[in-house]
Symmetry: C2
Amino acid sequence: MSSLTPTAKVILGLLRLGARTGYDIKRVTERSVQLFWGASYGQIYPELRRLEEARLVRATSAEGARRRREYTLTRAGERALREWLTNTNELLFDYRDEALLKLFLGDFLSRDDVLATVRARRAWIQLSLDMFRGEIEPHAREGVAEGEQLPYLVYRYGVDFLVWMDRWYAKAERELERDLDNAGGPKGRLGHTQ
Amino acid sequence: MSSLTPTAKVILGLLRLGARTGYDIKRVTERSVQLFWGASYGQIYPELRRLEEARLVRATSAEGARRRREYTLTRAGERALREWLTNTNELLFDYRDEALLKLFLGDFLSRDDVLATVRARRAWIQLSLDMFRGEIEPHAREGVAEGEQLPYLVYRYGVDFLVWMDRWYAKAERELERDLDNAGGPKGRLGHTQ
DNA sequence: GGGCCCATGTAAGTCGTTACATGATTTT
DNA sequence: AAAATCATGTAACGACTTACATGGGCCC
Protein backbone atom coordinates (compact mmCIF):
# COMPACT_ATOMS: atom_id res chain seq x y z
CA MET A 1 0.00 0.00 0.00
CA SER A 2 3.04 2.26 0.05
CA SER A 3 1.99 5.06 -2.25
CA LEU A 4 3.55 5.74 -5.62
CA THR A 5 6.41 8.18 -6.05
CA PRO A 6 5.80 11.05 -8.46
CA THR A 7 7.88 9.44 -11.17
CA ALA A 8 6.17 6.07 -10.63
CA LYS A 9 2.86 7.75 -11.39
CA VAL A 10 3.89 8.99 -14.79
CA ILE A 11 5.71 5.75 -15.59
CA LEU A 12 2.74 3.54 -14.85
CA GLY A 13 0.46 5.93 -16.69
CA LEU A 14 2.56 6.04 -19.83
CA LEU A 15 3.12 2.28 -19.85
CA ARG A 16 -0.64 1.98 -19.77
CA LEU A 17 -0.86 4.31 -22.76
CA GLY A 18 1.55 2.17 -24.75
CA ALA A 19 5.09 3.28 -23.89
CA ARG A 20 7.54 0.38 -23.64
CA THR A 21 11.08 1.38 -22.66
CA GLY A 22 12.56 3.91 -20.27
CA TYR A 23 13.81 5.87 -23.23
CA ASP A 24 10.31 5.79 -24.64
CA ILE A 25 8.83 7.16 -21.44
CA LYS A 26 11.26 10.05 -21.46
CA ARG A 27 10.52 10.86 -25.08
CA VAL A 28 6.77 10.72 -24.58
CA THR A 29 6.83 12.96 -21.51
CA GLU A 30 8.77 15.53 -23.51
CA ARG A 31 5.94 15.64 -26.02
CA SER A 32 3.12 15.70 -23.55
CA VAL A 33 3.30 16.25 -19.80
CA GLN A 34 6.70 17.94 -19.66
CA LEU A 35 5.26 21.31 -18.57
CA PHE A 36 3.63 19.98 -15.42
CA TRP A 37 5.23 16.61 -14.77
CA GLY A 38 8.82 16.33 -15.93
CA ALA A 39 10.96 13.21 -15.54
CA SER A 40 14.66 12.62 -16.16
CA TYR A 41 16.61 9.45 -16.91
CA GLY A 42 18.17 9.68 -13.48
CA GLN A 43 14.70 9.12 -12.04
CA ILE A 44 13.14 6.90 -14.68
CA TYR A 45 15.59 4.00 -14.88
CA PRO A 46 16.02 3.44 -11.15
CA GLU A 47 12.27 3.80 -10.64
CA LEU A 48 11.54 1.19 -13.31
CA ARG A 49 13.78 -1.22 -11.39
CA ARG A 50 12.00 -0.47 -8.14
CA LEU A 51 8.61 -0.95 -9.77
CA GLU A 52 9.78 -4.27 -11.17
CA GLU A 53 10.94 -5.35 -7.72
CA ALA A 54 7.54 -4.32 -6.35
CA ARG A 55 5.92 -6.41 -9.13
CA LEU A 56 3.98 -3.48 -10.55
CA VAL A 57 5.74 -3.85 -13.89
CA ARG A 58 7.30 -6.76 -15.70
CA ALA A 59 10.35 -6.54 -17.98
CA THR A 60 10.62 -8.70 -21.05
CA SER A 61 14.30 -8.31 -21.67
CA ALA A 62 15.69 -7.65 -25.13
CA GLU A 63 14.57 -9.77 -28.03
CA GLY A 64 16.47 -7.77 -30.66
CA ALA A 65 20.20 -7.22 -30.87
CA ARG A 66 20.08 -3.82 -29.27
CA ARG A 67 20.17 -3.77 -25.48
CA ARG A 68 16.64 -2.95 -24.48
CA ARG A 69 14.20 -3.69 -21.68
CA GLU A 70 10.53 -3.60 -22.56
CA TYR A 71 8.20 -3.04 -19.67
CA THR A 72 4.52 -3.78 -19.30
CA LEU A 73 2.14 -3.33 -16.39
CA THR A 74 1.32 -6.33 -14.24
CA ARG A 75 -2.19 -6.73 -12.93
CA ALA A 76 -1.01 -5.28 -9.61
CA GLY A 77 0.45 -2.36 -11.57
CA GLU A 78 -2.85 -1.70 -13.33
CA ARG A 79 -4.57 -1.82 -9.97
CA ALA A 80 -2.08 0.55 -8.35
CA LEU A 81 -2.45 2.97 -11.26
CA ARG A 82 -6.22 2.89 -11.13
CA GLU A 83 -6.20 3.18 -7.36
CA TRP A 84 -4.09 6.33 -7.52
CA LEU A 85 -6.13 7.83 -10.35
CA THR A 86 -9.40 7.35 -8.52
CA ASN A 87 -8.46 8.06 -4.90
CA THR A 88 -9.38 11.41 -3.41
CA ASN A 89 -6.10 12.44 -1.77
CA GLU A 90 -4.84 16.00 -2.05
CA LEU A 91 -3.81 16.81 -5.58
CA LEU A 92 -0.21 17.98 -5.58
CA PHE A 93 0.27 21.49 -6.87
CA ASP A 94 3.81 22.87 -7.01
CA TYR A 95 4.66 26.07 -8.72
CA ARG A 96 7.93 27.96 -8.69
CA ASP A 97 8.36 30.99 -10.90
CA GLU A 98 11.44 33.15 -10.72
CA ALA A 99 9.94 35.93 -12.83
CA LEU A 100 7.26 36.47 -10.19
CA LEU A 101 9.76 36.53 -7.36
CA LYS A 102 11.87 39.09 -9.18
CA LEU A 103 8.79 41.12 -9.94
CA PHE A 104 7.73 40.93 -6.30
CA LEU A 105 11.09 42.29 -5.20
CA GLY A 106 11.44 44.87 -7.93
CA ASP A 107 10.35 47.99 -6.07
CA PHE A 108 13.88 49.17 -5.40
CA LEU A 109 15.06 48.59 -8.96
CA SER A 110 14.64 50.89 -11.91
CA ARG A 111 11.58 50.54 -14.09
CA ASP A 112 13.79 49.21 -16.89
CA ASP A 113 15.24 46.45 -14.76
CA VAL A 114 11.76 45.28 -13.86
CA LEU A 115 10.60 45.51 -17.46
CA ALA A 116 13.59 43.41 -18.52
CA THR A 117 12.33 40.57 -16.35
CA VAL A 118 8.82 40.84 -17.73
CA ARG A 119 10.11 40.81 -21.28
CA ALA A 120 12.42 37.88 -20.61
CA ARG A 121 9.49 35.88 -19.28
CA ARG A 122 7.40 36.80 -22.29
CA ALA A 123 10.16 35.66 -24.63
CA TRP A 124 10.29 32.32 -22.83
CA ILE A 125 6.51 32.01 -23.11
CA GLN A 126 6.74 32.54 -26.86
CA LEU A 127 9.39 29.84 -27.20
CA SER A 128 7.26 27.49 -25.15
CA LEU A 129 4.21 28.21 -27.25
CA ASP A 130 6.16 27.48 -30.42
CA MET A 131 7.23 24.20 -28.87
CA PHE A 132 3.67 23.37 -27.93
CA ARG A 133 2.23 24.17 -31.30
CA GLY A 134 5.07 22.62 -33.26
CA GLU A 135 6.02 19.51 -31.32
CA ILE A 136 3.30 18.70 -28.87
CA GLU A 137 0.12 19.47 -30.75
CA PRO A 138 0.62 16.87 -33.54
CA HIS A 139 1.17 14.11 -30.98
CA ALA A 140 -1.87 15.18 -28.98
CA ARG A 141 -3.91 15.09 -32.21
CA GLU A 142 -2.71 11.58 -33.03
CA GLY A 143 -4.10 10.45 -29.71
CA VAL A 144 -7.53 11.84 -30.53
CA ALA A 145 -7.65 9.69 -33.67
CA GLU A 146 -7.09 6.67 -31.46
CA GLY A 147 -9.88 7.55 -29.07
CA GLU A 148 -7.79 9.43 -26.55
CA GLN A 149 -9.61 12.67 -25.84
CA LEU A 150 -7.95 13.72 -22.64
CA PRO A 151 -4.32 14.16 -23.72
CA TYR A 152 -5.60 16.66 -26.23
CA LEU A 153 -7.65 18.44 -23.57
CA VAL A 154 -4.54 18.67 -21.41
CA TYR A 155 -2.52 19.91 -24.37
CA ARG A 156 -5.12 22.67 -24.62
CA TYR A 157 -4.52 23.49 -20.96
CA GLY A 158 -0.84 24.02 -21.71
CA VAL A 159 -1.49 26.34 -24.62
CA ASP A 160 -4.27 28.21 -22.86
CA PHE A 161 -2.13 28.68 -19.78
CA LEU A 162 0.77 30.06 -21.77
CA VAL A 163 -1.52 32.37 -23.71
CA TRP A 164 -3.13 33.58 -20.51
CA MET A 165 0.28 34.22 -18.97
CA ASP A 166 1.46 36.16 -21.96
CA ARG A 167 -1.60 38.36 -21.86
CA TRP A 168 -1.14 38.94 -18.13
CA TYR A 169 2.46 39.97 -18.59
CA ALA A 170 1.58 42.11 -21.59
CA LYS A 171 -0.87 44.02 -19.45
CA ALA A 172 1.65 44.31 -16.61
CA GLU A 173 4.19 45.60 -19.10
CA ARG A 174 1.83 48.33 -20.25
CA GLU A 175 1.03 49.29 -16.66
CA LEU A 176 4.68 49.47 -15.75
CA GLU A 177 5.42 51.62 -18.75
CA ARG A 178 2.58 53.97 -17.90
CA ASP A 179 2.38 54.11 -14.10
CA LEU A 180 6.06 54.29 -13.47
CA ASP A 181 6.86 56.87 -16.10
CA ASN A 182 7.32 59.57 -13.49
CA ALA A 183 8.81 57.34 -10.81
CA GLY A 184 11.44 55.96 -13.14
CA GLY A 185 14.31 55.65 -10.71
CA PRO A 186 15.05 53.22 -7.92
CA LYS A 187 13.31 53.70 -4.62
CA GLY A 188 12.43 51.83 -1.47
CA ARG A 189 12.05 52.16 2.26
CA LEU A 190 15.71 51.65 2.91
CA GLY A 191 17.01 53.92 0.19
CA HIS A 192 18.78 52.42 -2.77
CA THR A 193 22.49 53.12 -2.67
CA GLN A 194 23.03 53.51 1.05
CA MET B 1 30.39 34.54 -7.53
CA SER B 2 28.77 31.25 -6.58
CA SER B 3 25.15 31.92 -7.40
CA LEU B 4 22.41 32.12 -4.81
CA THR B 5 20.34 29.10 -3.85
CA PRO B 6 16.59 29.41 -4.35
CA THR B 7 15.99 29.96 -0.66
CA ALA B 8 18.82 32.49 -0.45
CA LYS B 9 17.04 34.55 -3.09
CA VAL B 10 13.85 34.90 -1.14
CA ILE B 11 15.73 35.44 2.12
CA LEU B 12 17.84 38.29 0.80
CA GLY B 13 14.81 39.76 -0.91
CA LEU B 14 12.65 39.73 2.19
CA LEU B 15 15.42 41.05 4.42
CA ARG B 16 15.66 43.92 1.98
CA LEU B 17 11.92 44.50 2.35
CA GLY B 18 12.21 44.66 6.10
CA ALA B 19 12.00 41.13 7.48
CA ARG B 20 14.35 40.53 10.42
CA THR B 21 14.28 36.97 11.77
CA GLY B 22 14.02 33.53 10.22
CA TYR B 23 10.59 33.19 11.72
CA ASP B 24 9.68 36.49 10.16
CA ILE B 25 10.79 35.38 6.74
CA LYS B 26 8.66 32.29 6.97
CA ARG B 27 5.62 34.26 8.05
CA VAL B 28 6.02 36.84 5.33
CA THR B 29 6.41 34.24 2.59
CA GLU B 30 3.18 32.62 3.75
CA ARG B 31 1.40 35.90 3.16
CA SER B 32 2.97 36.74 -0.14
CA VAL B 33 5.09 34.50 -2.35
CA GLN B 34 3.96 31.14 -0.97
CA LEU B 35 2.18 30.13 -4.19
CA PHE B 36 5.25 30.39 -6.39
CA TRP B 37 8.21 30.44 -3.99
CA GLY B 38 7.68 28.47 -0.80
CA ALA B 39 10.28 28.13 1.95
CA SER B 40 10.34 25.97 5.08
CA TYR B 41 12.21 26.35 8.37
CA GLY B 42 14.35 23.40 7.43
CA GLN B 43 15.70 25.51 4.59
CA ILE B 44 15.56 28.98 6.06
CA TYR B 45 17.59 28.59 9.26
CA PRO B 46 20.52 26.68 7.78
CA GLU B 47 20.54 29.02 4.78
CA LEU B 48 20.70 32.09 7.04
CA ARG B 49 23.79 30.57 8.68
CA ARG B 50 25.39 29.93 5.33
CA LEU B 51 24.63 33.47 4.17
CA GLU B 52 26.18 34.80 7.36
CA GLU B 53 29.29 32.73 6.75
CA ALA B 54 29.42 34.10 3.21
CA ARG B 55 29.09 37.63 4.67
CA LEU B 56 25.95 38.43 2.71
CA VAL B 57 23.98 38.96 5.92
CA ARG B 58 24.95 40.03 9.40
CA ALA B 59 23.29 38.80 12.60
CA THR B 60 22.83 41.09 15.56
CA SER B 61 22.16 38.50 18.17
CA ALA B 62 19.37 38.87 20.68
CA GLU B 63 18.94 42.10 22.57
CA GLY B 64 15.70 41.08 24.31
CA ALA B 65 15.13 38.17 26.65
CA ARG B 66 13.70 35.93 23.99
CA ARG B 67 16.24 33.98 21.98
CA ARG B 68 16.30 35.73 18.66
CA ARG B 69 18.71 36.50 15.84
CA GLU B 70 18.03 39.60 13.81
CA TYR B 71 19.55 39.64 10.38
CA THR B 72 20.32 42.50 8.05
CA LEU B 73 21.90 42.61 4.61
CA THR B 74 25.55 43.52 4.35
CA ARG B 75 26.72 45.65 1.47
CA ALA B 76 27.87 42.48 -0.29
CA GLY B 77 24.40 41.03 0.35
CA GLU B 78 22.71 44.04 -1.23
CA ARG B 79 25.02 43.70 -4.20
CA ALA B 80 24.36 39.98 -4.56
CA LEU B 81 20.62 40.59 -4.40
CA ARG B 82 20.74 43.36 -6.96
CA GLU B 83 23.04 41.34 -9.19
CA TRP B 84 20.61 38.42 -9.23
CA LEU B 85 17.58 40.65 -9.77
CA THR B 86 19.14 42.38 -12.75
CA ASN B 87 21.03 39.58 -14.46
CA THR B 88 19.54 37.98 -17.55
CA ASN B 89 19.90 34.29 -16.75
CA GLU B 90 17.10 31.86 -17.48
CA LEU B 91 14.14 32.48 -15.24
CA LEU B 92 13.30 29.28 -13.40
CA PHE B 93 9.83 27.95 -14.09
CA ASP B 94 8.75 24.78 -12.32
CA TYR B 95 5.23 23.53 -12.38
CA ARG B 96 3.87 20.23 -11.12
CA ASP B 97 0.16 19.62 -11.13
CA GLU B 98 -1.29 16.27 -10.24
CA ALA B 99 -4.77 17.15 -11.45
CA LEU B 100 -3.42 17.60 -14.97
CA LEU B 101 -1.54 14.32 -14.89
CA LYS B 102 -4.64 12.49 -13.74
CA LEU B 103 -6.68 14.21 -16.39
CA PHE B 104 -4.09 13.30 -19.01
CA LEU B 105 -4.32 9.64 -18.04
CA GLY B 106 -8.07 9.54 -17.58
CA ASP B 107 -9.15 8.01 -20.88
CA PHE B 108 -9.53 4.53 -19.44
CA LEU B 109 -11.48 5.67 -16.40
CA SER B 110 -15.17 6.37 -16.19
CA ARG B 111 -16.40 9.88 -16.85
CA ASP B 112 -17.29 10.23 -13.19
CA ASP B 113 -13.80 9.38 -12.00
CA VAL B 114 -12.37 12.04 -14.28
CA LEU B 115 -14.97 14.56 -13.18
CA ALA B 116 -14.10 13.83 -9.55
CA THR B 117 -10.54 14.99 -10.19
CA VAL B 118 -11.71 18.15 -11.92
CA ARG B 119 -14.07 18.95 -9.07
CA ALA B 120 -11.43 18.26 -6.44
CA ARG B 121 -9.08 20.69 -8.16
CA ARG B 122 -11.81 23.29 -8.36
CA ALA B 123 -12.51 22.92 -4.64
CA TRP B 124 -8.82 23.46 -3.90
CA ILE B 125 -8.82 26.54 -6.14
CA GLN B 126 -11.72 27.99 -4.18
CA LEU B 127 -9.93 27.43 -0.88
CA SER B 128 -6.82 29.06 -2.29
CA LEU B 129 -8.80 32.03 -3.53
CA ASP B 130 -10.38 32.48 -0.11
CA MET B 131 -6.88 32.43 1.39
CA PHE B 132 -5.67 34.97 -1.12
CA ARG B 133 -8.54 37.35 -0.63
CA GLY B 134 -8.68 36.91 3.12
CA GLU B 135 -5.06 36.68 4.24
CA ILE B 136 -2.84 37.85 1.45
CA GLU B 137 -4.71 40.78 -0.04
CA PRO B 138 -4.65 42.98 3.13
CA HIS B 139 -0.88 42.58 3.45
CA ALA B 140 -0.36 43.36 -0.21
CA ARG B 141 -2.47 46.49 0.21
CA GLU B 142 -0.43 47.62 3.22
CA GLY B 143 2.64 47.52 1.01
CA VAL B 144 1.02 49.81 -1.53
CA ALA B 145 0.50 52.44 1.16
CA GLU B 146 4.24 52.32 1.83
CA GLY B 147 5.17 52.80 -1.81
CA GLU B 148 5.49 49.14 -2.72
CA GLN B 149 3.55 48.67 -5.93
CA LEU B 150 4.94 45.37 -7.09
CA PRO B 151 3.92 43.04 -4.27
CA TYR B 152 0.37 44.08 -4.99
CA LEU B 153 0.83 43.46 -8.70
CA VAL B 154 2.12 39.98 -7.91
CA TYR B 155 -0.77 39.38 -5.54
CA ARG B 156 -2.99 40.18 -8.52
CA TYR B 157 -1.15 37.55 -10.54
CA GLY B 158 -2.01 34.95 -7.91
CA VAL B 159 -5.69 35.81 -7.88
CA ASP B 160 -5.93 36.15 -11.65
CA PHE B 161 -4.17 32.83 -12.14
CA LEU B 162 -6.52 31.03 -9.77
CA VAL B 163 -9.56 32.63 -11.38
CA TRP B 164 -8.31 31.69 -14.83
CA MET B 165 -7.71 28.12 -13.71
CA ASP B 166 -11.16 27.82 -12.21
CA ARG B 167 -12.75 29.04 -15.42
CA TRP B 168 -10.66 26.60 -17.44
CA TYR B 169 -11.71 23.68 -15.28
CA ALA B 170 -15.33 24.82 -15.26
CA LYS B 171 -15.32 24.71 -19.04
CA ALA B 172 -13.60 21.32 -19.05
CA GLU B 173 -16.20 20.08 -16.62
CA ARG B 174 -19.02 21.14 -18.91
CA GLU B 175 -17.32 19.52 -21.90
CA LEU B 176 -16.79 16.29 -20.03
CA GLU B 177 -20.42 16.23 -18.94
CA ARG B 178 -21.59 16.83 -22.49
CA ASP B 179 -19.12 15.04 -24.79
CA LEU B 180 -18.77 11.93 -22.75
CA ASP B 181 -22.45 11.43 -22.04
CA ASN B 182 -22.65 8.60 -24.52
CA ALA B 183 -19.16 7.24 -23.91
CA GLY B 184 -19.73 7.00 -20.19
CA GLY B 185 -17.79 3.84 -19.48
CA PRO B 186 -14.08 3.07 -19.35
CA LYS B 187 -12.24 2.55 -22.59
CA GLY B 188 -8.74 2.61 -24.02
CA ARG B 189 -6.47 0.99 -26.54
CA LEU B 190 -5.53 -1.84 -24.28
CA GLY B 191 -9.02 -2.58 -23.05
CA HIS B 192 -9.86 -1.83 -19.46
CA THR B 193 -10.19 -5.00 -17.47
CA GLN B 194 -7.81 -7.27 -19.34
C1' DG C 1 32.99 6.92 -41.90
C1' DG C 2 30.33 10.22 -39.37
C1' DG C 3 26.40 11.78 -37.21
C1' DC C 4 22.16 10.97 -35.22
C1' DC C 5 18.96 8.39 -32.78
C1' DC C 6 17.99 4.50 -29.68
C1' DA C 7 19.06 2.76 -25.32
C1' DT C 8 20.58 2.06 -20.34
C1' DG C 9 22.54 3.19 -16.48
C1' DT C 10 25.32 5.51 -12.21
C1' DA C 11 27.31 9.10 -9.08
C1' DA C 12 27.50 13.38 -7.03
C1' DG C 13 25.47 17.08 -5.63
C1' DT C 14 21.34 19.99 -4.55
C1' DC C 15 17.15 21.03 -2.74
C1' DG C 16 13.26 20.29 -0.25
C1' DT C 17 9.65 18.63 3.28
C1' DT C 18 8.31 16.70 7.64
C1' DA C 19 8.63 15.58 12.12
C1' DC C 20 10.77 16.27 16.19
C1' DA C 21 12.68 18.96 20.09
C1' DT C 22 12.71 23.02 22.91
C1' DG C 23 11.36 26.97 25.28
C1' DA C 24 9.89 32.02 26.21
C1' DT C 25 6.25 35.48 25.92
C1' DT C 26 1.73 37.15 25.16
C1' DT C 27 -3.07 36.82 24.95
C1' DT C 28 -7.41 35.00 26.47
C1' DA D 1 -3.90 28.48 33.68
C1' DA D 2 -4.14 27.35 29.05
C1' DA D 3 -3.58 28.38 24.34
C1' DA D 4 -1.54 30.88 20.79
C1' DT D 5 2.35 33.04 18.99
C1' DC D 6 7.23 33.98 18.67
C1' DA D 7 11.47 31.78 17.97
C1' DT D 8 15.37 28.48 16.62
C1' DG D 9 17.10 24.60 15.24
C1' DT D 10 18.24 19.36 13.63
C1' DA D 11 17.68 14.67 11.57
C1' DA D 12 15.84 11.62 8.41
C1' DC D 13 14.17 11.02 4.34
C1' DG D 14 12.63 11.86 -0.46
C1' DA D 15 13.19 13.55 -4.94
C1' DC D 16 15.41 15.72 -8.66
C1' DT D 17 19.05 17.36 -12.01
C1' DT D 18 23.32 17.06 -14.27
C1' DA D 19 27.13 15.08 -15.91
C1' DC D 20 29.34 11.15 -17.05
C1' DA D 21 29.95 6.53 -19.22
C1' DT D 22 28.86 3.24 -22.75
C1' DG D 23 27.54 1.22 -26.93
C1' DG D 24 24.59 -0.55 -31.03
C1' DG D 25 22.02 0.44 -35.29
C1' DC D 26 20.61 3.26 -39.17
C1' DC D 27 21.08 6.52 -42.80
C1' DC D 28 23.69 9.49 -45.82
